[in-house]
Amino acid sequence: MTVTPARQHRITVTVNGESHLAAVEPRLLLVHFLREDLGLTGTHVGCDTTSCGACTVTLDGRPIKSCTMFAVQADGGEITTIEGLADPDGTLHPLQQAFWDEHGLQCGYCTPGMLMAALPLLDLDERPTDAEIRTQISGNLCRCTGYANIVRAIASATQRAHAERAPDG
């Protein structure tokens, strides 16, 4: 068999609204591409074994664990990382603000992953229950064990998002 393992692949990915053209070796993991090639170090490497969720980003709107995907697979995709949440003027995303207000972080290591995992909950037609929130972040570990405030923060953000979308205001 003739294989060329070292061959670089040219990929185009949109990260936080900005298009990037890059040459990547196939074995480059998406999380390393984001952190080392693009310098977006807000996405953390925790367990590196698909367990902890610290590396969560959204790909085409769905949260995924970026330690378990190769960058080359993201070719043509649209990625949002934690750096893409706040407004360019520094105004926090409602989910970030809720984590601030509800003390949803202690050491902060899991926080980017928690936020990216919880993001789809803000778009649901119905406000999620606490049980649904816990299920949604069940792939994200907080070793400070600060789950109660994390759930409270997400509930607060989803409540506000839902109220703002309600027809009666």
Binding site: T50, S51, N140
Partner: protein, 303 residues
Amino acid sequence: MYPAAFEYVAVGSFAEASEQLARAAGEGKLLSGGCSLIPLMKLRLAEPRLLIDLNRVPGAAGIIAQAGEIRIGALAREADVEASALLAASWPILVDTSAVIADPLVRNMGTIGGNIAHADPANDHPATMLALGARFLLSGAAGTREVAAADFFQDLFATALGEDEVLTEIRIAAPPPGTGSAYLKYERQVGDFAVAAVAAVVVVADGRIRSARLALTNAGPVPLRAQSAEVALAGLRVDDGAGMDEAAALAGDGIQPWADLRGGTAYKVDLVRGLAGRAVRRAVARALGHHELSAAAAHGGPR
């Protein structure tokens, strides 16, 4: 953790994937969700020289009703199986099964075809497929063939797939009237593999169980049918809960689940006996159109 270097190709069709497998001569691996393969590569337990990415094959992730069957593309994500209204209405056991695999983030990547073709005895879909009597479409250079789930799983991580074959579609007969189905899994924590899990499919008529099919996850090197339980369940009245528990408990006879960190053999056998009864009761309740408490499934105890 970096995998060993490999060549990567994203194919545009299953035929092309098959050609690439042939070219790799045993050193190629198919990539779908990557949830099992990529961790294995990072640990260098797997070092394929060629990675064949199926994710760009068009039309390979559909979930449709056609020709009296439910047809699920091998690339359907677990999250899409979990959210499918068609499956919730026809074979809710598939929704049950996908919903207890790993966690929601992994389910956004993981595919039903990958879960089946990887043939890990701890994976959840194989037992469900066995209970459903599913058939798999395998496509290779010699053409496409259909293999029953019962013939597909051959040993630990070993399947009927030929060296150049790709699992492309799962086919399941539409449920006959009076059908109910459920998958019940007991795990130590979210994201873990099953300590034990039971797939149950029943057909109910005139207040009695007409037929039952039970299959077990992680009770042996391949998913196992629990035929003595199936025979004992047939004919029982649907309100005979104690009878159902007793008959379903036969699922623990003759199995030899290995002892590991998740428990000893005797404990796991006992767990199978208990889970089987609950899975059958849930399947029967669904066959009768009863509503259920989904919260009970999400918190504590078996999911």
